[in-house]
Amino acid sequence: MSPLLEVRDLHARIEDGRKIIEGMNLVINPGEVHAIMGPNGAGKSTLSYVLSGKPGYEVTSGQVLFHGKDLLEMEPDERAAAGLFLAFQYPLEIPGVPTMSFLHTAVNAQRKTRGEPEMTAPELLRKVRALAKVLEIDADMLKRPVNVGFSGGEKKRNEVLQMMLLEPSLAILDEADSGLDIDALKIVANGVNSLRSPERSNLIITHYPRLLEYIVPDVVHVFANGRIVHSGDANLARELEATGYAKYQGEAA
């Protein structure tokens, strides 16, 4: 089985020159759920931005293969069309862009890039309504501009809605649990779990293990000082809850 995502000795820095990722290796196979845990400021979000192609980050060496192709050569929109999805830690508000037309544009832009037929507006509306129901998103919210006037929890659910609509092969969830109460957390987790399949994978970035009680990972990595310093199974998350990250930060130093 060829890996879905393969990160080889990745080094990256922010535009201002600060090194954030220093020699990272990671292999995610189809169907696997990986969790990356680590203390605040370890560079976990940077990893998600580097993988999704956000401007302002520079890869200085290393390689990332996605479906066997050079991910770093692709524009952010091409990465999305190839099946990569980033659920943002802080989803942005886009005044003046209605949610439905945003979703329609996104779905069809991806389909166009992949050479697939476009989704019609009624078909999209049906799908979105069904997903909104599952995620307990008020239909009125879909009439608003993207994320405008949404609470923190609503924005997070809207991210999951987009993920479920776009059906990526790899979804990166960056602190998907921050700002969620326990009910919303369960809804989000159910949404993510509903997409689990032998072809789809998840990379869950979090510094709280609670989310991992609902989305049980196959592999848990500890990320510190710009690289993965330790890996284990789902039990590692529980262990970290008890011990904290201190010993791994030491290990890396």
Partner: protein, 458 residues
């Protein structure tokens, strides 16, 4: 070219304290002297033309030391006067189909082709009760009256305007349209006043129109100005809008001149008590464009909305200058302008709000926002508030910035290519003005025009 005997002396010597005349100024003087005898109108009207030209001649083309024209230095930008268009121009047999904004909207189309009103192309059949449409040239020749007042008397007497380019128009203008909507008449179909230039030679055109809505009348007016690329034609146009008590006017003006054209437009807007006026400008084409509007709110409880969108690229220069004068208590005015600038384009917005001592409880707001898509684009913004009443609300705001890179990345991360993401954000930016346009067909047409602009950009 022969000069009429009573022509003002044209001298190469500058008057005291005046710089030498430019080639354009000299050409205006020579041309006016040559054609003024043929311009339509009574002796009284001819004297007014003479007086108006005198004002232009004394001041010359406005330049950067004239505060109102500070950012649009016509003396520099308008080196020459294109020869006056021949009258009558070659008459088209068929109305140009692509012209105008409202191709898909049921409306009454009136054509001004190459600066001349073309009744044979215009839809003048089955005029609604209370609607009168005249050719300006005919109205001046025949001393026609609308609403019991001579057209020649109404022109220029809406309120005094001392602007020098308006004076130039008043001197030359022979052609245009007169629209009169009688008391209480509500026009079911929008009126579309289509100005289209077809010539391949650079010419000057002067048009002047008058639209009067009597008490309680209601109308939608769409005006468009278009022409071929690559021809340095010059348009001087003026429109007087008289909106009676309790009347309602919705107006959109589209400026889509050719890429080498000069377009100088003056609108005088006189609004009576309790009227509702919503006017929006949509600026897409032309090399040098000045859209100046002078509005007077003369009665109580007027609601006036001014909107504008400029989409500019290359080396386009567009100047929107708006002066709103509150003369009576309890009126509301709203100004909302957006500019999207690419390449070396330059957008100018000058907004003046004057609140007279009597105009208590005025509520006036002005907001302008510019979006710069390139490092070489420029937005100039000059708000001026002049308030003599003490119980008023008057606010202005202005922003200039780039597209939000974070938001753009968010859209791209969802699979939307860069240009498409930018287009979505630009449409949203412009939508803040376009969405406020009342008539759906007009709104749709403007959204379509924005899309085409974005497509050409990409």
């Amino acid at each position: 070219m022969t000069m009429a005997a009573e022509a003002r002396p044209i001298s190469a010597q500058p008057a005291r304290g005046q710089p030498a005349r430019t080639a354009a100024e000299t050409a205006f003087a020579t041309t006016f002297a040559a054609v003024k005898a043929e311009l339509p109108g009574s002796a009284t009207f001819a004297a007014r033309r003479e007086e108006a030209f005198g004002r232009f001649a004394d001041a010359g083309l406005p330049h950067r030391r004239v505060e109102e024209w500070r950012y649009t230095d016509l003396r520099r930008l308008m080196r020459e006067m294109a020869p006056l268009a021949a009258t009558p121009a070659t008459q088209l047999e068929k109305a140009p189909e692509a012209a105008g904004l409202l191709a898909a909207v049921e409306c009454r189309k009136l054509y001004v082709v190459d600066g001349v009103f073309a009744p044979h192309l215009s839809d003048l059949a089955d005029l609604e009760a209370g609607l009168t449409i005249l050719s300006l040239a005919d109205a001046l020749r025949d001393d026609a009256h609308v609403g019991g007042v001579a057209v020649s008397k109404r022109l220029g007497e809406t309120f005094p305007c001392t602007d020098v380019m308006f004076a130039l128009n008043a001197a030359f203008a022979a052609e245009g349209v007169v629209v009169h909507v009688a008391e209480g008449a509500e026009l079911a179909r929008p009126l579309e006043l289509i100005h289209v230039n077809t010539g391949t030679e650079p010419v000057s055109m002067f048009t002047r129109s008058l639209v009067v809505l009597e008490k309680g009348a209601k109308a939608n007016l769409v005006e468009s100005h278009e022409g071929p690329d690559g021809v340095a034609y010059q348009v001087h146009t003026a429109l007087e809008l008289v909106v009676g008590e309790g009347a309602q006017l919705d107006r959109v003006k589209l400026t889509r001149e050719g890429d080498a054209a000069l377009h100088i437009s003056t609108v005088l807007l006189d609004i009576a008590a309790s009227a509702l006026v919503r006017t929006a400008g949509f600026m897409l084409g032309g090399a040098i464009v000045r859209n100046q509007t002078f509005a007077q709110l003369t009665g109580k409880e007027i609601h006036a909305v001014f909107g504008g969108v400029s989409l500019l690229g290359n080396r386009q220069h567009a100047d929107t200058s708006l002066a709103v004068e509150h003369l009576a208590p309890g009126c509301e005015s709203r100004e909302n302008f957006r500019a999207v600038l690419d390449d070396h384009a330059r957008d100018v917005f000058q907004g003046r709000i004057a609140v007279r001592r009597e105009a208590q409880q005025t509520d006036a707001r002005m907001m302008t926002r510019a979006l710069l898509l390139s490092d070489t684009a420029e937005a100039d913004n000059k708000p001026e508030l002049e308030i003599f009443a003490d119980d008023v609300q008057c606010a202005h705001g202005c922003t200039t910035g780039n597209l939000d890179e974070q938001v753009k990345f968010y859209l791209m991360a969802r699979g939307i290519p860069e240009k498409e993401a930018e287009a979505l954000l630009i449409q949203a930016f412009v939508g803040e003005v376009v969405d406020a346009i009342e008539l759906e067909g007009v709104r749709e047409a403007l959204i379509g025009a924005t899309r085409s602009w974005l497509k050409e950009r990409a």
